[in-house]
């Protein structure tokens, strides 16, 4: 399966290598660098690159390429999914997954990689199992270890490895027992020039933070489970129970985890919470272009639209933009031609707008394409699909936990064509 792993940073340096079978020379990465050179954008490197003797499968996260070397047939998604799991684990351990963090913790990284794969086949990827084997580094623990000489490495096989609930360790204890659930929905939409919706769909996730003592057995029910069209679960969810009763029944992992991701059936009309009025035009023969943008709230169920961020890739011919925002700040990068406008909160009484002119290269003909506008926003206390959690019950333990549910709607890939 996975033969070796190379970590390559944005400037093309291999800063970590790990081999699970015999050593593969790092010169194999030259094929990757070739592909990198050919690609116009960092994202355009093909995920699978064949070389004469190996296959390179890479993922790009946090501006680091994780390049796995494969020698024979293997489902590519298997490798890709694993690499993403590695990144998630690093993030979980070090808070961030950057080159600096990896270099600082190189020993822990190596120990982790050693435990995650045996002979290139995943051995332990559950975070709670890994955390029992290798404790995450904290300042306090480092200090204690240097004094007492104890180590970060567990001596016993994690109980989860053999149990039927590998995602939860035994003997969890908390003084405050609490379970929080975040229902986060994202709207993916494409809006056309005239403001009508071409496609819009809602994807949601329920992220949980559960800190409960012992082995609690939770059930979560919805007011309107029918809304959920397609779901994928954390392995802890009992599938049969969902099939039969549309109830989520599970023994939760300890700590943060994604309980469920779902897709809201496309029959339901999606409410679009913001609208954009735009007028971006270039005149033939003139070195000036007009730029006007106004944002406004649409169906928001009375909730405020916050953290609005507008970005747009302007045509190559644009030299500079001289704009005037009614609120917030804007930046224009003359090299990448990326315009971004940090709007903040939309005030329905006084709609935010960005107006001004763009200067074009003199002599160049007018660009024949109009830029698309990407919008990000957040709406607190609202699940745009109308999904509502009915109740959360706990069985198996005697104490009374503190329960909380939060709703949020965000823009996913929200694009307006102009």
């Amino acid at each position: 399966m996975i033969h070796s792993l190379f970590l390559i940073n944005a400037s093309g340096d291999i800063f970590l290598e790990k081999h699970w079978k015999s050593v593969v020379s790092r010169s194999v990465c030259d094929y990757f660098f070739e592909a990198l050179e050919r690609a116009t954008e960092p994202e355009n490197v093909p995920p699978v690159i064949p070389t004469p003797h190996h296959y390179l499968i890479n993922v790009l996260r946090h501006r680091i390429y994780f390049v796995a070397v494969i020698q024979s047939e293997v489902p590519p998604l298997f490798v890709i999914e694993f690499l993403h799991r590695v990144v998630d684990t690093f993030q979980d351990y070090f808070g961030v997954c950057t080159e600096a963090a990896i270099k600082d913790n190189v020993v822990v990284v190596y120990e982790l990689l050693e435990e995650m794969l045996d002979n290139g086949f995943p051995l332990a990827t559950e975070s709670n199992i890994l955390k029992e084997l290798i404790k995450p580094p904290t300042i306090l623990r480092t200090v204690v270890n240097t004094i007492t000489g104890s180590t970060n490495v567990g001596e016993q096989l994690p109980t989860g490895q053999l149990s039927v609930v590998p995602w939860r360790r035994t003997g969890v204890k908390y003084t405050n027992n609490e379970a929080y659930f975040d229902v986060v929905e994202e709207i993916d939409a494409i809006i056309d020039k005239s403001g009508s919706t071409i496609t819009a769909e809602i994807q949601g996730v329920i992220d949980a933070c559960v800190k409960l003592t012992g082995m609690p057995d939770l059930t979560l029910s919805f007011m309107n489970p029918r809304l959920l069209d397609d779901v994928s679960f954390h392995p802890c969810v009992r599938f049969k129970r969902w099939e039969a009763e549309r109830i989520l029944s599970f023994i939760p992992p300890d700590g943060n985890f994604r309980l469920l991701s779902y897709h809201v059936s496309s029959q339901n009309l999606v409410a679009i919470p913001v609208y954009v009025k735009h007028n971006i035009s270039f005149r033939e023969g003139s070195s000036q272009g007009r730029f006007e943008l106004t944002l406004g709230p649409k169906q928001t169920m009375g909730k405020a639209v916050e953290s609005v961020l507008v970005s747009s890739q302007l045509p190559r011919g644009v030299l500079n933009a001289n704009l005037n925002p009614s609120q917030g700040t804007y930046t224009f990068d003359p090299v990448t031609k990326l315009l971004s406008w940090d709007v903040g909160k939309i005030n329905p009484q006084k709609l935010p707008s960005l107006k001004g002119s763009m200067s074009l290269q003199t002599g160049a003909s007018k660009p024949d394409e109009n830029p698309t506008i990407n919008i990000q926003f957040k709406i607190q206390q609202l699940a745009i699909s109308g999904l509502k959690v009915n109740r959360l019950d706990m069985y198996g333990e005697k104490y009374k936990p503190f329960k909380g549910i939060k709703y949020m709607t965000k823009a996913g890939k929200f694009q307006v064509r102009t």
Partner: protein
């Protein structure tokens, strides 16, 4: 020079701190060598110190070196000394180092082997497993026999985690020494029988790597694998699903045949006689239940969070499911498109292949494939591909409108791909060909070269497929010709001119005139087309173009490129008649102006499904090394019974003993069963010679679990005589049934609990055909007794049956049937009945108990009633509750009992320590649930007074 001398001095003064100091000295090329050496010297010293913390620090730095890809091999002797360190982190880092460099330093690596051999016997399963991991990762051919031994040993280890590591070690050994294949297959065969979900994925992986052609090893494990699948860890699921896909294609007949037959029927129905139709219908397709089992058990995995699992299930359905069931995978695949960019890439590729064959599957989700400006280019092109595949008469206008936006994209490579896609749609759907052509012609005046070039190329292809009625388009192109600079586009226009020169008789010679002027400045492909155009015009319109052609041919003759010189020479000989030209020039016109077949615009994903979907080979569209071909469905299904898993077939073993009695009372029936019990054992002794071979097999199967122990299965110490009601005569309409546990090893299967059933007829009519219905509502595997044909009034009969409770106290529900009625009954086993006694020495007992601590241990303290304190009564009480063996004890107040669970053979150890007046009961077993239940029962038994 100066610096290095300073450096030497420093080194002499303070060896311990040199390294840190030296870091501040600018490292020049000259200095690098000694600097590096020094650093290693420093590390060596640290490794040889007595302080654990220094050693650890040194190892951490060495690992840092390895991670950076620096060579640290010369430290090998110093590192290998620490292999037996007590500090577990240090030890692990040494392991990391060993695995990395052992191949280079084989002799030195051998020094560490004995440490691992010792660790393989460690009571801690984590240490056993990691020793095996390292031992098998050291690629030193000399230790192959040691590895082989270690693998065999570990494959029978009590800990499933160690067995999993053994499965991984198999692959490592195989890659080191393929000659070991036969021995390794034996181990694989053994491990495939393993019931632990932890092992399943890894052993199937080993199977795929070592002996993927030994499909016969799978037969007996097929159903088990299907049933375990949901509980296997996600990575194992992917491997197992891929393997089962391959397996199923060799074992079951095609479920797709049905559609074909159905189609034929509907076509023939009007014309064929009734009889023929009946012949067709007489052999309807019935899906093998095992085939169905696989489809059913994989379906819930579509909801997995692991994208690789979802993809694996999708490809399984694509390759195995009847066509009408395929639609369930659509939603899940579309869901994966929300995931990371790389995941999208792979999933889109697979969807592209699927959508060629089955448009309908993805058509409702067309909008999910709309391109966003933020997508990566390869994602965009794949989405285009899919949209093109999905296009049909109904949705083409929507798709074309969408394409119009894409053409304007800033990403020019993508815009060009869109134009090709429009070309594809135009050829596939004839209704829109003209619309597309007009649209493309408009694009010719686009400002971007790539867009124009691509449009010209696509128009050329389209015109070729169309009868040449588009002379105005060609004229238009000729007009634009001067502004087009992309060579491919110029070449295409020239070719079009030449090919259809008869439709544009006035323009073509003029274009040739212009080209003659610029010939020398053109690119090679354009020059070739100029020569072609000249030749064609010469043949059709020699009056106007003769001189021009001569001129161009002369230019071509002295071109720098030999292709062009070659072509020129050839054309000249072909078209200009002279005395030397042979017979060919007569046919010049027919050669050059031959009607040419139109190019077929087809998807790059056509025929990709010759590779199994979801594989690397499919992604690359070429066979990757180690790719295993998916075979075609067999025409006739191979023997289905190979998958049956009645391990011991009782060859001539009688299993029904009929005992007739006039009157049935409880006490008598008990006597009865005792009798029959005796007779059964004597019978089985008699027949033992015949079934000897089978018995041996079963013993072998059991043995591995206990090889490390010197324990033997033993006969039960105590068999309780109480029987339990299964069916009361009132509810059973006169048929009553009682059951008791015989506590004997079951003859029907190793993992079954043996039961004795006494059926009596209290009606005044004979009951006929008493049997257990085939369908069982719960999942247990039940060995049914042979149907009793006739039970006379007031008679009773005792039969034996076996139930695999799977080490759980969940009741086995089944239907007891007579000829007329069906009665639902259930057997609820007490936890003590799910055990079989074993004997072992006291020392072994303590050793095993030491391994099963922590979560595997449950204990309780009770106050004993005085009359229970005698050794006899403790023993009796415990063995009456649970089927355990008594271990002779050296100490007076400690009682030990041992047994194993029937299904999985996990050890169950019970000890009772008396401390007047209290007693501590301790139960050690991997089956923690059973342990705690057993503890409760032993507790009640020992606290209750009475016999």
């Amino acid at each position: 020079q100066i610096q290095s001398s300073i450096f030497n001095q420093r080194k002499a003064h303070s060896p311990g701190h040199v390294c840190k100091n030296i870091l501040h000295v600018p490292v020049s090329g000259l200095l690098f060598g000694p600097w590096f050496l020094c650093r290693n010297e420093d590390l060596k010293e640290m490794l040889e110190s007595n302080k654990e913390s220094l050693k650890l620090e040194a190892m951490k730095r060495i690992v840092g070196l390895i991670a950076k890809g620096k060579n640290a091999s010369e430290l090998f002797p110093a590192v290998v000394k620490n292999v037996a360190s007590k500090n577990i982190e240090l030890k692990k880092l040494v392991y990391v180092y060993l695995v990395r460099y052992a191949e280079e330093q084989q002799d030195l690596a051998l020094l560490s082997i004995s440490t691992f051999q010792r660790a393989l016997k460690d009571p801690n399963q984590l240490i056993r497993a990691s020793a095996l991991r390292v031992l098998s990762s050291i690629r030193v051919p000399i230790i192959v026999p040691i590895m082989m031994l270690a693998i065999k040993e570990a494959a029978t280890d009590l800990s499933p985690y160690v067995r999993k590591t053994a499965a991984h070690a198999i692959q490592k050994l195989y890659s080191l020494d393929p000659d070991q294949k036969e021995h390794l297959i034996e181990v694989i065969e053994k491990l495939l029988k393993d019931k632990s979900t932890l092992v399943a994925g890894s052993v199937v992986m080993a199977f795929e790597e070592v002996c993927p052609d030994r499909i016969d090893l799978i037969h007996k494990n097929y159903r088990k694998l299907c049933n375990l699948l949901v509980d296997v860890e996600e990575w194992g699921q992917v491997v197992i699903i891929h393997m089962l896909t391959r397996y199923a294609r060799t074992q079951f007949v095609s479920p797709w045949r049905e559609d074909a037959v159905f189609d034929e029927n509907s076509a023939k129905a009007f014309y064929d006689s009734e009889e023929e139709r009946r012949v067709d219908q007489s052999k309807p397709y019935i899906m093998d239940p095992d085939h169905r089992l696989l489809l059913r058990n994989t379906k819930p995995l579509l909801q997995s969070r692991n994208t690789a699992v979802v993809m694996a299930v999708s490809q399984l359905y694509w390759h195995l499911a009847p066509k009408h069931e395929l639609s369930i995978i659509t939603k899940s695949l579309v869901r994966l498109l929300r995931s990371h960019r790389e995941v999208q890439y792979i999933v889109l590729q697979n969807i592209a292949t699927m959508s060629i064959q089955r448009k309908g599957m993805f058509e409702p989700f067309m909008k999910s494939f709309y391109v966003r400006s933020t997508d990566a280019t390869h994602i965009k092109t794949l989405k285009l591909e899919i949209l093109t595949n999905l296009a049909n008469e109904a949705n083409i206008s929507t798709i074309l409108r969408e394409f119009q936006t894409y053409v304007k994209s800033q990403d020019k490579a993508f815009a060009a791909a869109t134009i090709q896609a429009i070309g594809c749609c135009a050829t596939n759907i004839s209704e829109v060909t003209d619309t597309c052509l007009n649209g493309l012609v408009l694009l010719l005046s686009n400002r971007d070269e790539t867009v124009v070039a691509e449009s010209v190329v696509v128009i050329k292809k389209l015109l070729q497929t169309q009868p040449s009625q588009h002379s105005d388009i060609i004229k238009h192109m000729a007009k634009l010709f001067d502004n087009i600079t992309v060579p491919m586009a110029r070449a295409s226009i020239l070719w079009l001119m030449g090919e259809y020169c008869e439709h544009v008789p006035k323009i073509a010679p003029d274009v040739l005139r212009k080209m003659a002027k610029t010939f020398t400045d053109e690119e090679d492909i354009v020059k070739l087309q100029i020569v072609n155009l000249a030749a064609k015009l010469y043949l059709t319109n020699s009056k106007q173009t003769k001189l021009l052609t001569q001129y161009i041919l002369n230019l071509g003759k002295y071109d720098q490129n030999y292709d062009i010189r070659d072509r020129t020479r050839f054309i000249r000989q072909l078209i200009v008649p002279n005395e030397k030209s042979g017979a060919l020039s007569k046919y010049a016109r027919r050669i050059l102006m031959a009607p040419k077949p139109a190019p077929v615009l087809q998807s790059a994903f056509k025929d990709r499904d010759r590779f199994q979907l979801g594989t690397l080979s499919h992604t690359l569209n070429s066979q990757a090394s180690g790719y295993l071909e998916l075979s075609d469905w067999p025409a006739v299904a191979p023997d289905q019974s190979v998958r049956n898993v009645e391990v011991v077939e009782p060859v001539r073993l009688p299993c029904i003993y009929l005992v007739f009695k006039d009157n049935v009372k409880n006490s008598e029936s008990e006597e009865n069963s005792d009798d029959s019990n005796k007779s059964s054992s004597s019978q089985s002794e008699k027949s033992s010679s015949e079934s000897d071979s089978e018995k041996k097999k079963t013993l072998k199967n059991k043995k591995p679990q206990q090889q490390k122990l010197d324990s033997k299965d033993s006969s039960p110490v105590f068999v309780p005589e109480t029987s339990h009601e299964l069916l009361h005569r009132m509810t059973g309409k006169g048929l009553s049934a009682q059951y008791r546990f015989t506590r004997q090893p079951c003859i029907y299967g190793n993992s079954m609990v043996s039961l004795q059933l006494t059926l009596s007829n209290s009606t005044d009519q004979a009951l006929e055909n008493i049997h257990i219905s085939e369908k069982s509502s719960t999942g247990q595997n039940i060995h049914r007794f042979n149907a009793i044909e006739r039970l006379e009034p007031q008679a009773s009969v005792t039969v034996s049956m076996g139930v695999d409770f799977n080490d759980s106290t969940q009741a086995a529900n089944f239907q007891l049937c007579t000829k007329e009625d069906e009665f639902s009954v259930s057997i609820q086993p007490a936890v003590g009945e799910l055990l079989l006694p074993i004997t072992m020495s006291e020392a072994d007992f303590t050793k095993e108990q030491g391994k099963l601590v922590g979560m595997n241990e449950s204990s309780a303290t009770i106050t004993m009633t005085p009359e229970n304190v005698s050794s006899q009564s403790v023993n009796r009480k415990v063995v009456s509750v649970a089927n355990l063996g008594v271990i002779p004890s050296g100490q007076e107040n400690i009682y030990r009992f041992s047994g194993k669970t029937v299904s999985s053979g996990s050890l169950v150890l019970v000890s009772v320590v008396l401390k007047d007046p209290d007693a501590v009961i301790t139960i050690n077993t991997e089956k923690t649930v059973m342990g705690s239940m057993l503890l409760r029962q032993v507790k009640t038994a020992l606290t209750n007074s009475g016999p």
